[in-house]
């Protein structure tokens, strides 16, 4: 094989296009190789490049006339050995990551054809680096060498290529342009799948504007600071070691040293002692104007020795001079020494303070090498200065007490910095990457994500006590077991005046628990009421709170509990809607650190004693804050029907049908689970069987009352975990806009919403992984059958359930329509659009099995208003 591409050298557009075609075919074949085969080829190629490091280094220096052979040997060695070592065990083929539990799998695929532009400064090492990472990632790579370094670049590529092919890689997996020209370079960049561009800003900009994804990197102008606390000897010798490496051609090489004033002389002396030359008088100008021409670096001095550069500038220095140092003051770009010099020429600045040194470094960096590398020599204990430096420098690599040439390329002075000869400079340098580019940048990673279901839960108060007459027994625990000392009771005026608090107070007195009572809670509790209560609560300082009442008293007590435990909470934040309670933005404060919370319901309706919900209204603005978080869950619920025997009929009716709605919505919710289904089903049965008697006979039907009490709590437990649906969303707004009791509002729309939900072809279904297909109809039929209703098919069964509900509503005195309730048509229509949008936005909407469109909600409202046939809702 000749040194050119086999057979036809690539010198024209036609030969290049032909080459790219065979390379693409080679890559398609290589893309099928196993990890084992790829690793064998990668190893063989690295070994071959490693063995050729000296001839390649010699060739590069001879051809380009730049740099130092011995240093280029190190670079070649590094490119072969360090790159191999870093990726030897890295998975780059097929499945590289798998988590069966989460159903996630990552599969690495090659990108395809990589275009690599190689600079003159590192022609062989960069070629080795890029070909090796392409082989490791099953990519083909076409190299566009710089005309000034084409022989050595191509030779490096050829050595890697031949070793790879000998180890089994497809022929033509690596290619190159034999006669580089800008047209061919541009063509390669346009044709490739990704560009790996190392070099000057012009070329990198061209890569980015080619229209293909590019991993381009920017120019450097590395500023080094030597702090007062630094080890001066280590600092100076590190800088000399780095700056003289390959005659200063590494992009991460130091271009300036800013020494703090108190160590400046010591730094200067150490540089002199180690063979660096400080330019005197007009020598600074002479060298400056030789090194920089019109703001660009003179091509003739790049990679030359200090002696040679001095000679070009007409300055006499000893032949063994290591670095020419210009002591300058300006960091402006009008100062030649402030530029990147690509040679052993260094600027030296004096800074009065560390802050000033940061200012100077940042300016040098941003003018000459934004995003590249910055260096700092400092006592590692100076944490604040280290942090200030890292914060200030717009550099993607910040090396500390490290020669930056060898340090920036990684893995030599720090073993977690990825080894690379292509250093990303981030957006500051106009690049797409800010890290050291490596093999992983040349992969397309496919993520295979299998459907997984959310973890669900069943969360209940730690203690739910029930059975008629259980209250004093349950309360006993507060004293005898828990040793509570102070109890604060929250209730409403009616209950207080009618002696409902007395048995509790008696029990507390008996146990020696002091107590206070707030009995001013009104229906739809307000923030102002809660504030009043919490004022008393704070001065009393309870270690247990007892909420006695219906939903309003229990909600008000929960809010007071929050304000008592966390006086600084913001209700707007707490009430922020969420899609998933576990992913909500707001983290609810931890409750229960000051007081234990006991809820004792006196109506069979809200289930608030076992739910994590509470609603509070700001009376001055009218804002309602629905709060939902398991932190709001009472610690103990005491369900004693003795507290409920004498509920008025209206309350029995409204709260009873509310229970039914809770149970039905929880049962068809997208979050319904086997844990909540049983609770919900049993609640429906208890309501169907007992609500008529409870309504008609009241305290004369104690068993019916007791069953309704259980139904209420069961339904509460169900919807505390499975949540509700659009029936509640609509009822919330209907009730608020038209002053309809909550339970009645639910009842007025219940059968319409059920017909609507039961559609087998909903416009949109609810989003939840567990909710697989629209199945509300089957779920409603489960309820029907549980209640003994069996038709000839699901539709008839469902009709029977609807009929039974309509009959129940009639029995307990629910009006036939919203209109019949007494809402004026003009008032209703005037608020309809607003109600619709607010109902859509209600927190309950998300769990509905059918994701409602606003127009659909509006139709439902209208049907329910006029009391139309519920079948109409089934057609929506």
């Amino acid at each position: 094989m000749t040194k050119k591409n086999a057979e036809t050298p690539v010198t024209t557009v036609e030969t290049l296009e032909a080459k790219l075609a065979v390379m693409r075919a080679a890559q398609r074949a290589y893309g099928q190789f196993s990890q084992e085969d790829v690793d064998r080829i990668f190893r063989a190629a690295a070994m071959a490049a490693n063995k050729a490091r000296i001839p390649l280094a010699k060739m590069a220096v001879e051809e380009t006339g730049m740099g130092v052979v011995e240093d280029k040997v190190i670079k070649n060695h590094y490119a072969a050995e360090y790159i191999y070592n870093t990726y030897r065990n890295t998975k780059t083929c097929g499945v590289i990551e798998e988590d069966a539990a989460f159903g996630i799998r990552k599969i690495a695929e090659p990108i395809g054809l990589v275009a690599a532009v190689i600079p003159t400064t590192n022609p062989t090492s960069t070629a080795i680096f890029k070909t090796l990472i392409c082989l490791k990632t099953r990519n083909a790579i076409i190299i566009s060498p710089h005309p000034r370094a084409k022989k050595s670049t191509i030779e490096a590529a050829r050595i890697v290529y031949e070793a790879a092919v000998a180890a089994g890689a497809p022929k033509d997996i690596i290619g190159w342009i034999d006669e580089p020209s800008l047209d061919l370079t541009n063509l390669v960049m346009k044709e490739a799948d990704i560009i790996l561009a190392t070099g000057g800003p012009g070329m990198v900009r061209a890569a980015y504007s080619s229209g293909k994804p590019a991993l381009g990197v920017g120019a450097g102008n590395v500023p080094a600071i030597i702090d007062s606390s630094a080890d001066v000897r280590l600092a100076v010798n590190s800088i000399i070691h780095s700056k003289t490496f390959d005659n200063g051609m590494i992009c991460a090489s130091e271009q300036s040293v800013t020494a703090l004033a108190d160590v400046y002389d010591a730094v200067r002396a150490e540089f002199e002692k180690r063979g660096c030359y400080f330019l005197k008088g007009d020598e600074i100008k002479k060298v400056g104007n030789t090194v920089i021409i019109n703001g660009s670096v003179n091509a003739k001095i790049v990679g030359q020795s200090a002696y040679k550069i001095a000679k070009l500038a007409g300055v006499d220095v000893p032949e063994r001079t290591k670095i020419l140092i210009g002591e300058v003051t300006s960091t402006d770009i009008s100062e030649p020494f402030a530029h990147e010099k690509l040679s052993p020429v260094l600027a030296m600045y004096k800074a009065k303070t560390f802050e000033q040194a940061l200012d100077m470094s940042e300016q040098l960096l941003m003018d000459g090498g934004p995003g590249h590398t910055a260096s700092l020599y400092i006592n590692p204990d100076e944490k604040e200065k280290l942090a200030a430096h890292a914060a200030r420098m717009h550099a993607c690599r910040i090396v500390v007490n490290t020669p930056s040439s060898q340090g920036g390329i990684g893995d030599i002075y720090n073993f977690r910095l990825t080894p690379s000869l292509t250093l990303g400079c981030g957006s500051w340098g106009g690049n797409s990457v800010s890290h050291n580019v490596g093999a992983l940048d040349l992969l397309n990673i496919k993520t295979v994500a299998e459907r997984r279901e959310n973890m669900l839960w069943l969360r209940l108060p730690e203690k739910v006590y029930f059975k008629r007459g259980c209250m004093p027994v349950a309360l006993d625990e507060l004293g005898t077991v828990m040793g509570k000392k102070k109890c604060f009771i929250v209730t409403d005026t009616f209950l207080y005046q009618n002696g409902y608090v007395k048995p509790i107070e008696n029990k507390l007195d008996q146990m020696g628990i002091t107590h206070a009572c707030f009995w001013d809670v009104a229906p739809d509790p307000t923030l102002q009421c809660a504030q009043e209560g919490v004022k008393q609560m704070k001065s009393f300082g309870p270690d247990v709170i007892i909420a006695l009442g219906g939903g309003s008293a229990m909600d008000a007590a929960k809010i007071m509990w929050v304000m008592y435990e966390h006086p600084d909470v913001n209700f707007d934040d707490m009430a922020m809607d969420f899609m998933d309670i576990r992913k909500r933005v707001y983290t609810f404060p931890k409750m229960g650190q000051k007081a234990y919370f006991v809820a004792i319901p006196t109506s069979s309706g809200t289930g608030s004693e076992v739910t994590p919900f509470a609603i509070i209204t700001d009376a001055t603005t009218g804002t309602k804050w629905p709060l939902a978080d398991y932190e709001l869950m009472p610690n103990m619920a005491i369900v004693d029907v003795d507290n409920m025997m004498n509920q008025p009929r209206g309350l029995t009716s409204a709260s009873g049908i509310d229970v039914m709605t809770h149970a039905l919505e929880a049962y068809v919710s997208v979050m319904a689970s086997d844990m909540t289904d049983g609770l919900a089903l049993q609640a429906t049965k208890l309501v169907f069987d007992n609500l008529p008697d409870a309504y008609n006979l009241g305290a004369k039907a104690p068993r019916a009352r007791e069953h309704m009490a259980m139904a209420s709590t069961l339904a509460g437990e169900a919807f505390a975990n499975a949540f509700l649906g659009v029936n509640h969303s609509m009822a919330h707004k209907l009730g608020a806009y038209h002053h309809i009791p909550h339970g009645v509002a639910n009842a007025l729309i219940l059968t319409y919403v059920m017909r609507y939900n039961a559609s087998e072809t909903p416009a949109k279904m609810g989003t939840f992984p567990q909710y697989e297909y629209p199945h509300a109809l089957q779920r409603y039929c489960d309820v029907a059958r549980y209640n003994g209703l069996v038709g000839k098919d699901d539709n008839e069964t469902f009709d029977m359930l609807i009929d039974k509900l309509e009959a129940l509503k009639k029995t307990i005195g629910i009006p036939a329509s919203i209109k019949d309730f007494g809402v004026k048509e003009e008032d209703f229509l005037a608020t309809l659009d607003e109600m619709t949008e607010n109902a859509f936005n209600d927190q309950c909407t998300g769990a509905n099995p059918r994701y409602p469109l606003m127009s659909e909600i509006k139709q439902l409202y209208l049907l329910a208003y006029y009391g139309k046939d519920t079948r109409e809702a089934g057609k929506i």
Binding site: S181, G200, G202, V204, R205, G295, I333
Partner: protein, 249 residues
């Protein structure tokens, strides 16, 4: 022919004035397309409203082609500067203002500056291929604009009339492109005669254009190479120095 006054004589053309008419007469061997192209560019910029001498015609003259245009009464900025050296700063400022003003015109019919330079650099066989490669790479990395670039906007090409208004002469090199390139050309032309004035111009231009000096400097190797295609031996040392730069790494 008694009042024919020769203004400029070159191997391929003679420019003279006859009363209120300026005639640019090209030799018979000068390509016809070149003459018509120059007249076309001139017509385009006049159509765009750029202040320049009125074009009167293209005609045959002594076997070659000639462009005739209106003579603009007044003095060029360079004449003014020679007459009033103490007002040099004022004239420099005028130059920069006029250059920035020119850049606001859009003349889409004109050739693209970048392509023009690219073609010129490709013909520069007396510099080595690597240098050409780097120059072209640099050119490709430059931002692509469509501002009117005169291509040789020096004080001798700007006539200030008695009423203070101005006209720009010699549109042969005009193109549409990056204003930084046009400024770099002006800077280069100053540098060939008067480096100090060149620095002054550059600072003033960048300040008024709110442009970083590096931006203009990046163009310098490119415009130097472009200028080399004119093969003026006296300019060669400076221009060769300017193109011999490496890209930052």
């Amino acid at each position: 022919m008694a009042d024919r006054q020769i203004i400029e004589e070159k191997s391929y053309k003679t420019v003279y004035r006859e009363g209120n008419v300026i005639i640019k007469a090209f030799t018979a061997s000068h390509p016809m397309s070149g003459v018509f192209n120059e007249a076309y560019i001139h017509a385009c910029i006049l159509d765009a409203g750029v202040p320049a001498p009125k074009l009167l015609g293209v005609s045959q003259l002594d076997g070659g082609w000639a462009i005739s245009m209106e003579y603009v009464a007044g003095k060029t900025l360079s004449e003014l500067a020679q007459e009033n050296p103490d007002r040099l700063d004022e004239y420099l400022e005028r130059l920069v203002d006029i250059q920035l003003e020119t850049g606001k015109y859009r003349v889409p019919q004109l050739r693209n500056t970048r392509l023009k330079m690219e073609n010129a650099i490709k013909t520069l066989t007396d510099i080595d291929a690597s240098t050409r490669y780097e120059l072209l790479q640099r050119l490709h990395g430059m931002a692509r604009h469509t501002k009117l670039c005169h291509g040789d906007l020096v004080p001798s090409n700007i006539v200030v009339k008695e009423d203070g208004s101005y006209a720009i002469l010699d549109w042969a090199h005009a193109s549409a492109g990056n204003a930084g390139a046009d400024a770099a050309i002006t800077y280069m032309r100053f540098s060939l005669d008067n480096p100090e004035l060149a620095e002054k111009y550059l600072r003033l231009f960048c300040k008024k254009a709110d442009m970083p000096i590096q931006y203009i400097q990046t163009w310098m190797p490119i415009v130097a190479a472009f200028q080399l295609t004119k093969h003026r031996e006296s300019e060669r040392p400076l221009l060769e120095k300017w193109i011999s730069v490496a890209e930052y790494q």
